[in-house]
Each structure stands twice: as structure tokens, then as C-alpha cells.
């Protein structure tokens, strides 16, 4: 029985390892391609003869990825704080107070988790154009906040529900207002949850493509993914530069992922579970 168990266990690891290799190869392949001399045809996985980092310079300055990254950051930095504040406020009320109809409102938010961008993008373009919010980061930021709020509210509501009510009750008896309770007592405790939510929202905002493609027609204002999608059509033959551009676009989220691995993975798994 022991040998059966052991072989079973090893086959489990073997499967994981095969999968891990499959996951890594595309990343490795792009990375190696980005180090080949610019303009050369690249075949599959090839170790570069000499490492030429110049493709990154080309992509960064000539192909304009520095601007793209900046635009993406502007949007993400607008979306993340607003989303955190709004989600924390709503989650606080829906999670700790007995609001009449609170459950229905919470359910109404949760229903928003199923809204795909495709469902809203068509009228959004025409409506926001009427308001002068196309080709503007503000328009994209507002829509992204709206898109990520269902998850944010739900996430924060779940968090606040799990904090011990005794803390809140005690403060209430001391005469603290609901705002004081939130700011002084609950928010400091919520820092890890807020942190995870912030990371997820940043990632979603960074990766958003269709919305930007439609709402920002001015190519000089494109974000990183939109710019990359656009760069492909233009330079699909110059694989090394394209690969460098791809890496640059992935890099910010990758760095965050490496640094905040725990929060990220917890967020992605628990977030999915709770949602």
C-alpha cells in the first residue's frame, strides 16, 4: 500500500511539474526573444547568442511604451483609491448595520459581478461622448470603478461581517458615532483586506482592454494593453521589439505579484470563493 501511495503522490507532483513547465515556457520564450538582436527572425525557444537589452530601450522610447505605462498608471491610481474608499464605506454599512433592505442592496451589488464589459460598452461610448468623457481618463476611471465595485463592496462587506461585533457594540455604548467607529476601530483592522482589494483592483484596471479600446480613440492617450494590441498589427515582424514591449506591459503587475504574493494569491482564491 505504501508503494501505491508513493507512486500516487509522485504522479501528482509529476503532473504539477509538467503543468508548471507548460506555464513557464511561454514566458521564457517571450523573454528570450526579447533579448535577440532587433529585427532578426526568431525561431521558438532560442538562447540568444549575445544578450541585447537594447530592445527594451527601443520599445520604451521609440515605440512609446513609456507613455503607455504612464497612462495606465494614471488610470489605475485614479481607480484604486476611489474604489477602496467607496467599497469600504458601503461594505461597512452593509456588513455591520442592520439596514432595511440591506440584503437586497447587497444582492444588487453582487449581481454586478456578472456584468461583462461587452454588455455596457456600446451605450457607454455614446453616453460618455455626450458628456465629453471619451478620450478622457476620467471617463475610463469612473466606469472601471463601477465595474470593480460589486466585488469591492462584497469583499469589504464580508470582511466587516467577520470582525467581532463586540468591538463595535462597545464603542457604540461609549457614544462613538458610526463614522468614528469606522475610522478609529474598523479600518485599522481592515488594512490587510484593503491591501488585497487594492492589489486586485490595480491588476484589473491595468489589464482592462476593451473598455479603453472603445472609450479612448486618441492613440496618443492609449494605455499599455491597448498600445500593445496596437503595436502587434504594426510590427508583428520585429519579434524581439514586440517581445520586449510585451514584457514591459506585463512587468508592473508581475512586480506587484512577486512582492505581494501572499495577498495576491489569497485575494484571487478567497475572492473567487467569496464571490
Amino acid at each position: 500500500m505504501n508503494t501505491v501511495a508513493r507512486s500516487e503522490r509522485w504522479s501528482g507532483y509529476a503532473l504539477l511539474t509538467v503543468m508548471a513547465v507548460v506555464v513557464v515556457i511561454p514566458f521564457l520564450s517571450v523573454f528570450l526573444a526579447s533579448l535577440q538582436p532587433a529585427g532578426t527572425p526568431v525561431v521558438g525557444l532560442t538562447w540568444p547568442d549575445r544578450w541585447s537589452w537594447s530592445n527594451y530601450e527601443t520599445a520604451w522610447s521609440v515605440a512609446g511604451f513609456s507613455d503607455l505605462i504612464r497612462h495606465s498608471l494614471v488610470i489605475a491610481l485614479g481607480v484604486v483609491p476611489a474604489c477602496l474608499v467607496l467599497a469600504a464605506l458601503a461594505g461597512y454599512a452593509l456588513g455591520t448595520m442592520r439596514l432595511p433592505g440591506g440584503n437586497a442592496v447587497a444582492a444588487f451589488f453582487v449581481a454586478g459581478l456578472t456584468i461583462p464589459v461587452e454588455l455596457i460598452v456600446v451605450p457607454l461610448y455614446f453616453d460618455l461622448r455626450g458628456l465629453g468623457l471619451t478620450n478622457s481618463y476620467l471617463g475610463v476611471i469612473l466606469v472601471e470603478i463601477a465595474l470593480f465595485l460589486p466585488f469591492g463592496v462584497f469583499w469589504m462587506r464580508t470582511h466587516f461581517r467577520s470582525t467581532p461585533m463586540s468591538l463595535v457594540e462597545a464603542a457604540r455604548i461609549d457614544g462613538a458615532s458610526s463614522a468614528t467607529i469606522l475610522v478609529r476601530i474598523l479600518l485599522p483592522l481592515a488594512r490587510p483586506s484593503l491591501m488585497t482589494l487594492g492589489l486586485l483592483v490595480f491588476m484589473w484596471s491595468w489589464n482592462q482592454f476593451l473598455l479603453v479600446l472603445v472609450l479612448i480613440q486618441d492613440t496618443t492617450k492609449h494605455t499599455a494593453p491597448a498600445g500593445l494590441g496596437f503595436f502587434v498589427g504594426q510590427n508583428s515582424t520585429d519579434i524581439p521589439t514586440l517581445a520586449a514591449g510585451t514584457i514591459i506591459v506585463m512587468l508592473p503587475v508581475l512586480i506587484l505579484f512577486v512582492v505581494f504574493q501572499r495577498s495576491f494569491i489569497a485575494g484571487l482564491l478567497q475572492g473567487a470563493m467569496k464571490g
Binding site: G12, L15, L16, M19, A20, V23, V24, P26, F27, V30, V42, V43, G44, L89, A90, A93, M97, L99, P100, G102, V105, G112, I115, P116, E118, L119, I120, V121, V122, P123, L124, Y125, F126, D127, V143, I145, A146, L149, P150, G152, L182, M203, N207, F209, L210, L213, A224, A226, L228, G229, T246, M250, V253, L254, F257, I265, L268, L269, A272, M273
Partner: protein, 309 residues
């Protein structure tokens, strides 16, 4: 609303008001906190969704005055082979985005469920990697991997299968599968990690008990592991199915719907119809169909997973 309740309810109403005063504050006041989030969510997500439904009843080119056509656009979706095909393709993608990753996830979980799993941290990091990078970057990467000189063909050549090499994304038989496998690549890790973390909650004594009963690995999986993963399964199905049905980014950068209509998905058509072909109403109708399809499937999954608990 607003009018006073009928006389028979009067007493109850009084009691309610008194109860409220007794607690000092109106329970409605808490909505002050909810309002900002609700307003943004309503104005920029809910209202546009309703507006889409409204636009779907018009034939409109995006510029001149629209014509009311009722459900005409929906009838066209049923008739038009390209539109129908896109919905079919999305359902095929569900197999690759949802079914295959879940099977892979369950398989690895089944093999590893009963053991302590040292070294999982590294695996977890790798498997979540495709989850965090932009899908556009994923698409660009795979577009190249599937190309004539890409890694996929390189692998086939290395094992002597020169005959099967081709530009996969341009092949009528292979393109949709190739796009689907990109989804498999992105989502398998998530499913695997979901199940493996879910299985940690299982009480080890249950496995021991099963083993004492003489259960083999398969029966053990079916009778112990699987029932505990019901929640995770529902989640994995929901997330992956939505990803499949609403796919846009990957298709847009890899095949743009070709060859022919082999990889055309509803998201791509919504974009094209509305913004380059001047058929805004039809695009809206297709978006509504897509939204309803997603909502229906999500509802069904959650209903099924709950009714069994």
C-alpha cells in the same frame, strides 16, 4: 411608496416607529455610507446595461435618428449564420476555458489530496502567474508561439512530427482549439489552486476512515474529496465560464475572428457591429443575449451547487 399604510396595519406601523426611536437613530441613516458606491455603480454600470437593452430595440447607425424595430434585432441574431456561429464558438470555448481546467485541477487534487504537500508555494506562484498578466499580453505571446516559427511547431519538429506543423491560428480545423487552449493555459492554474486550497479544509480523519473501509484512491476521491469541493467547483465553473463567454482580448489580438468565422466570438462582434459596421442596435442585442447567457449560466451553477448542500 410614501402613502401611509392602511388602517389595519396601523398598530404595527406605530410599533415599528417606536422601535426605531428607541434605538435612537433611523436605520436608514446607514445608507449614507452606501450611497456613493451605489451612485457610481448605478450610473456607470447598471444604467448602461439597461441602456443597452433599450438600444437593442432600435436599428441605429450611431449617428442619424434610430428606427424602432422591437425585437427585430433578436430575430436577426437567430437567423444570421455569423452571429449564431459566434455564440456557438463561445460555447465551444467553455469546454477549453472551463471543462478542461477543472478536470486537470480535480486530477491533480485527487492525486495530492491526502498528503502533506511540501513545496507548494513555488507551484502556487507559477500557476497564478497567467492569472495576473494582461490577457492582451497573453494573446500576443501565444500568437507568436502558434506561428510558423513558434515554440509549438518547434516542439513538433523536435519529436519528428514535421508533417503536422502549420500556422495554427490560420488553420480552419485548429484555430478555435488553439484559442481555447490559451484559455486552458490561463485558467488551469487557478482551478488547481482553488481545489488544492479547498481540500486543506478536509478533516484528515475522514481519509483514514475511508481507508479503513478499504476504499481505493478513486472511491476515496469520489466519496471524500469531491463532496468537500462543491463550493470550489461552483466558483471555478462560474469564473471560467464567464471568462469563456465574455472572451475578447485574446481573440482580438490572435485571430481577429478568423480564419473564416472559426474563432469569431460575441464580444468581437459586439465591438465590430457597433463601432465599425454601424449596426449599434444589433450589437446591443447581441450584448444582451451574451449578458443573459452569462447570468443564466451563473444562476444555474449556483442553484445546482446549493440545492445539493
Amino acid at each position: 411608496m410614501g402613502s401611509s399604510p392602511p388602517v389595519p396595519g396601523r398598530q404595527a406601523a406605530d410599533r415599528r416607529v417606536r422601535g426605531r426611536r428607541a434605538r435612537g437613530r433611523s436605520p436608514w441613516r446607514g445608507y449614507v455610507y452606501v450611497l456613493p458606491a451605489f451612485a457610481v455603480y448605478f450610473a456607470f454600470a447598471v444604467l448602461p446595461a439597461l441602456h443597452t437593452a433599450y438600444l437593442s430595440l432600435f436599428e441605429w447607425d450611431g449617428v442619424t435618428l434610430g428606427d424602432w424595430v422591437g425585437l427585430g434585432n433578436y430575430a436577426e441574431i437567430l437567423q444570421d449564420p455569423v452571429l449564431r456561429r459566434s455564440v456557438f464558438n463561445a460555447l465551444v470555448l467553455v469546454v477549453f476555458f472551463s471543462f478542461v481546467p477543472i478536470v486537470l485541477g480535480l486530477l491533480s487534487t485527487g492525486l495530492l489530496a491526502r498528503y502533506r504537500r511540501p513545496g507548494m508555494g513555488a507551484y502556487r506562484f507559477l500557476f497564478m502567474l497567467p492569472q495576473v498578466v494582461p490577457l492582451v499580453a497573453v494573446g500576443v505571446t501565444w500568437r507568436w508561439l502558434y506561428g510558423d516559427d513558434g515554440v509549438v511547431n518547434q516542439v513538433f519538429r523536435a519529436v519528428g512530427l514535421d508533417g503536422v506543423t502549420r500556422a495554427w491560428l490560420g488553420d480552419f480545423g485548429a484555430a478555435l482549439i488553439a484559442v481555447g487552449l490559451v484559455g486552458t493555459w490561463v485558467l488551469s492554474g487557478l482551478c488547481m489552486m482553488l481545489f488544492l486550497s479547498g481540500v486543506q479544509k478536509v478533516d484528515p480523519s475522514l481519509y483514514e476512515a475511508a481507508r479503513i473501509d478499504g476504499a481505493g484512491p478513486i472511491r476515496e476521491f469520489v466519496s471524500v474529496t469531491l463532496p468537500h469541493l462543491r463550493g470550489e467547483l461552483a466558483v471555478a465553473m462560474t469564473v471560467t465560464t464567464v471568462a469563456a463567454l465574455a472572451s475578447f482580448d485574446i481573440v482580438y489580438v490572435t485571430t481577429n475572428g478568423g480564419p473564416g468565422e472559426q474563432t469569431t466570438v460575441p464580444g468581437l462582434l459586439v465591438y465590430r457591429l457597433a463601432f465599425s459596421e454601424g449596426k449599434v442596435g444589433l450589437a446591443a442585442a447581441l450584448a444582451v443575449v451574451l449578458g443573459c447567457l452569462i447570468l443564466g449560466i451563473v444562476y444555474l451553477i449556483n442553484r445546482l451547487s446549493r440545492s445539493q448542500t
